[in-house]
Symmetry: C3
Subunit: 208 residues, 3 copies
């Protein structure tokens, strides 16, 4: 129940970040809606395709397509307000990241997959919407260049899986992971925590 | 029958636009053939993967790979003529867009999926070949920045689905949609009809 | 047995080329590991998704994720040495290309698919890891712009399939293809063999 509610908040927030990205590229309204859908539902779609978990979420629940479309169109109209709402967005996005991750873990566990695959499934659900958004907008995925993001998703997945592994009830494990992941992400933004970067320069061309 | 014929025309035309895109990037002949196949068969492949509709078209009909490869190689040789054929290409591409869309709708209806999913399936089939072509060539997908294109596909899908919904015979619905979608696309090109654009500028960086 | 060994060498080598690409873009360690996994395991994943061949390799063998992650982290630490190891890398990459191709052919043959689809399956397995790496790093896929690479994969696939077709034992066919493909790739690098390029310039914009 809580997770479904968070999921709806998360796809709305992600749809709006997708719409803004499309707006930065000056796309038309149709493109804005499409990028919003890809951003909000793409992470789950990639997970389901990779795990062979059919039907996909938006095929089973086409109403989610409507929610993201409405959120995208709304974004166009309230765009001038968006700068003031940026803090709200960071918060919703942080919640969404953890909620997506938890849903991805649960899908993999339902399929009887092991912990490592479940953690990867959670992370794919959490971050691939944003990666697809950046690929469609022809950017280098931001996810690898900013404050802890993919790593928050991966850490949250392991937190959840280990809680379950050591016998905690699923509901408790969900709540603890939500709180911990959300807090970690907000702290990372506030204090600009970053992973170390790997900077490699060569004059030679890559191996192939 | 008519639809199969249109499909063959469409994959040939799409393969040729793919080959030209690859040529703009100076790719080698092998890359030209590959981009042509992705452009011509990629939309159907994305649809089939997302719907879990196996085997994919080119796996069931490998001869389509040969058709697109031959079309791509032909394009290399007749490239100097292409500028003069541009109007012909716009016409074939418009026909192909609607034909792909109709096929995508039919696949989803065969799988007993609802109207919204069928419309999305039609649009994915219609536009994703071009989107993949642009991603492989490292462009921002054109589809969202030009005259009505994705929206023609979506409108055609709804036209077809509503005709069926209100009891029209499938063959009639196909012909009407073909005519209407084709006309709409040509009018959009002729009069430069465009969707309104969403242009968003901020100095701040995106939420994540 | 030999093929499994070669596969492990290949995913390690591909993971390292992926890590270097991520380093050229200044990604963080987490991104480096992710790009490495995509580069090493992405070709097989694309093949399996397109053929509907579930579960994917890394879902069945999550230990391969660990191998690529370790290879990526190792690359960060030995990066200053990489320039001296470039010849070694070209050799491992050539072996990996042919090994991936052979595995892709075998998967398709196991699924009773025809020769053309099997050859395409081999080539997808061979080259799509590198293509995904370049798309994630926002480059034009190198694969289409350098010495024979995709074409070596395709030629190796046909060599293997024709050997089998004319009654050779599978083990022999594997060894002959490995030797021939490896040699062809090294000769292509040494003598800068390239496919002819298709260079198309127009002032007009593309058809759509």
């Amino acid at each position: 129940m809580l997770l479904t509610l968070l999921y709806l908040v998360a796809i709305t927030a992600e749809a709006m970040t997708g719409a803004l990205s499309a707006g930065r590229r000056g796309m038309d309204w149709f493109g804005v809606v499409l990028i919003a859908c890809v951003t909000a539902l793409g992470g789950g779609a990639v997970r389901d395709v990779l795990l062979g978990h059919y039907p996909l979420t938006w095929v089973k629940h086409p109403e989610y397509l409507l929610i993201t479309a409405v959120a995208a169109l709304l974004t166009i109209f309230i765009a001038p307000l968006m700068k003031r709402l940026q803090v709200l967005f960071l918060i919703l996005d942080a919640l969404g990241l953890v909620a997506f991750t938890l849903i991805g873990c649960l899908v993999a566990l339902d399929m009887q997959l092991g912990m490592l695959v479940a953690a990867v499934s959670g992370m794919i659900t959490g971050i691939f919407g944003g990666i697809l958004r950046d690929i469609f907008c022809n950017d280098i995925p931001l996810v690898f260049r900013r404050e802890l993001y993919a790593s928050v998703s991966f850490a949250a997945a392991w937190c959840f899986l280990l809680c379950l592994h050591f016998g905690m009830a699923q509901e408790q494990a969900l709540l603890i992971t939500l709180a911990a992941g959300f807090l970690l992400r907000l702290l990372a933004i506030r204090f600009h925590w970053e992973m170390p970067k790997f900077v490699y320069r060569d004059d030679a061309e890559p191996p192939h």
